[in-house]
């Protein structure tokens, strides 16, 4: 379980997250929505232990993320609009590096498994800079699931992808992301977000404006928040 308690994040005098609290149950797929500047990426960044909150706490299981950050990162995978990959290295070299950073057992076999899962086996020796944007995002997914984390954070993973690539990515995420994992995903694509998630959170002006099961939410109602 992920527990967010009274989370506040401010950059100087600008308050981005205002006293947010919510829980995520194991196995839930949360679609986190909101306009640009609502605080989605900031929230993701704090959950991923990339930054610290100004106030409040996040617990993963029963562990405070601020006190056990390095240990908790073993159980988190992040896919963002940035691939977090090294362009000059091959796909395999990238994954081998991350396998060492995450203490992956049997890295050779595991790398082959994830590359086949994302459909990049055969291109593993090529430098990442020769990959298309869609291929780079698939490799980013491979990187994120390499250590088989129970928590997957997806921060606008379809940014910069055309419709075809975005659809393929959505199918891939559904296949590898939702299986037995707790997922928190941000996206501007309401349809895709609602199709993948089983619960919707919407941030507005740093607060949670909507928190309800997917079946209780309509695209029209959510679109209203984007037009305000």
């Amino acid at each position: 379980m992920i527990k967010v308690r009274n989370l506040v994040k401010a950059f100087g005098t600008r308050v981005v997250l205002r006293n947010i609290s919510f829980d995520i149950e194991p196995g839930e797929f949360i679609t986190l929505l909101g306009v640009n500047g609502a605080g989605k990426t900031t929230l993701m960044s704090i959950v991923a232990t990339l930054s610290k909150p100004t106030a409040g706490k996040i617990f993963i299981g029963d562990m405070d993320t601020q006190q056990h950050a390095a240990y908790i990162r073993r159980y988190i995978g992040l896919v963002s609009h940035k691939t977090l990959l090294y362009d000059d290295l091959s796909g395999e070299q990238n994954l081998r590096f991350y396998a060492r950073m995450y203490d992956v057992e049997h890295p050779v076999e595991r790398i082959e498994t994830v590359l086949r899962q994302v459909g990049l086996w055969g291109r593993q020796k090529d430098p990442v800079r020769t990959y298309s944007r869609g291929m780079q995002q698939r490799l980013a997914i491979a990187r994120a699931i390499l250590h088989n984390p129970p928590i997957l954070l997806l921060d606008e993973p379809d940014t910069g992808l055309d419709q075809g690539a975005a659809s393929m990515l959505g199918e891939l995420l559904a296949a590898v992301g939702t299986a037995q994992r707790t997922v928190l995903m941000t996206t501007h694509n309401l349809e895709r977000g609602l199709s993948l998630g089983n619960r919707v959170l919407m941030l507005s002006d740093g607060k949670i404006a909507v928190d309800m099961p997917r079946e209780d939410v309509s695209i029209e109602a959510l679109a209203h928040y984007y037009q305000q």
Binding site: M1, P26, G27, S45, A48, T49, L50, S51, K52, I60, G61, D62, M63, A70, Y71, I72, R73, R74, Y75, I76, L78, S80, K82, T83, L84, L85, Y86, D87, D88, L89, Q93, F97, Y98, R100, M101, Y102, D103, V104, E105, H106, R110, P127, R143, L146, H147, N148, P149, P150, I151, Q180, R181, T182
Partner: protein
């Protein structure tokens, strides 16, 4: 594993429940190895460092009227100008490239104390600067007519000076990544702080070239070693706060 996470995940565990022995060291070496592998593919940074340092040696060699009695006066400064400015080219890429290419977050997401990132980067920087030094040292000895007997003590001074320079430079390289004028800011911030390193290194180099007794230069050696130790310790403690947004 933290409680209340999906128990079915544990049946497909691909990481060990507890970090293996020497995990910290493995990750430091992994980060350094990654930088080396990337540089071997592109050779961008090393090319610039080599060319710059060779230019310095050549230009100083021909610009001054280097009669034998002049050479030892100028040689220490020339050597450390070449090392310092070539090193600056490498340090500038250390974290700035990670930030610009969006890969820094990948490092920060790794399940390891932040200091491992610092030491991995530091080790890589030391290696890159050392490779340049291996090339320019023979040229330095030839152009400045130095005896081969100085090589061993000079290498010792170069190692200590490189550690101090790279130690501070790696930390400052991480500090400037969030600023706009970071390419300009890094040398402006770095050079005043490494004055003790450069001063000690130049004095020790001069002492070696002039064949001075150890007692005449031991204070400079003490200063250099102390600086290295202090700044490595400070960097270890400060790095986590420096890289945070």
């Amino acid at each position: 594993m933290p409680q209340n996470l999906s128990s079915s995940i544990t049946s497909d565990r691909v990481i060990s429940e507890h970090p293996p022995q020497f995990a910290y060291l493995h990750k430091v070496l992994a980060i350094a190895g990654k930088d080396i592998a990337a540089e071997l593919r592109t050779k961008e940074m090393m090319s610039a460092m080599f060319v710059f340092s060779l230019l310095v040696i050549f230009i100083f060699n021909f610009a001054f009227d280097l009669r034998t009695d002049n050479a030892n006066t100028l040689a220490p400064g020339v050597l450390w100008v070449a090392i310092a400015f070539a090193g600056m080219l490498g340090l500038g890429r250390s974290f700035i490239t990670e930030r610009d290419r969006g890969s820094l977050e990948g490092l920060l997401l790794a399940p390891v104390d932040r200091s491992a990132i610092y030491f991995g980067k530091f080790l890589g920087n030391v290696l890159f600067i050392s490779v340049v030094e291996v090339v320019i040292l023979p040229l330095f000895i030839v152009f400045f007519n130095q005896p081969l007997g100085i090589i061993v003590p000079l290498v010792g001074v170069i190692v200590l000076g490189t550690i101090g320079f790279a130690g501070v430079g790696t930390l400052f390289s991480a500090m400037v990544i969030h600023t706009r004028a970071r390419d300009v800011l890094l040398p402006i911030m770095l050079f005043p702080v490494v004055v003790p390193v450069l001063l000690s290194a130049v004095r020790l180099t001069a002492g070696i070239l002039d064949n001075l007794p150890f007692e005449d230069v031991q204070n400079w050696l003490g200063l250099l070693v102390a600086f290295d130790l202090i700044f490595l310790a400070v960097s270890y403690m400060m790095f986590e706060y420096v890289v945070e947004e």
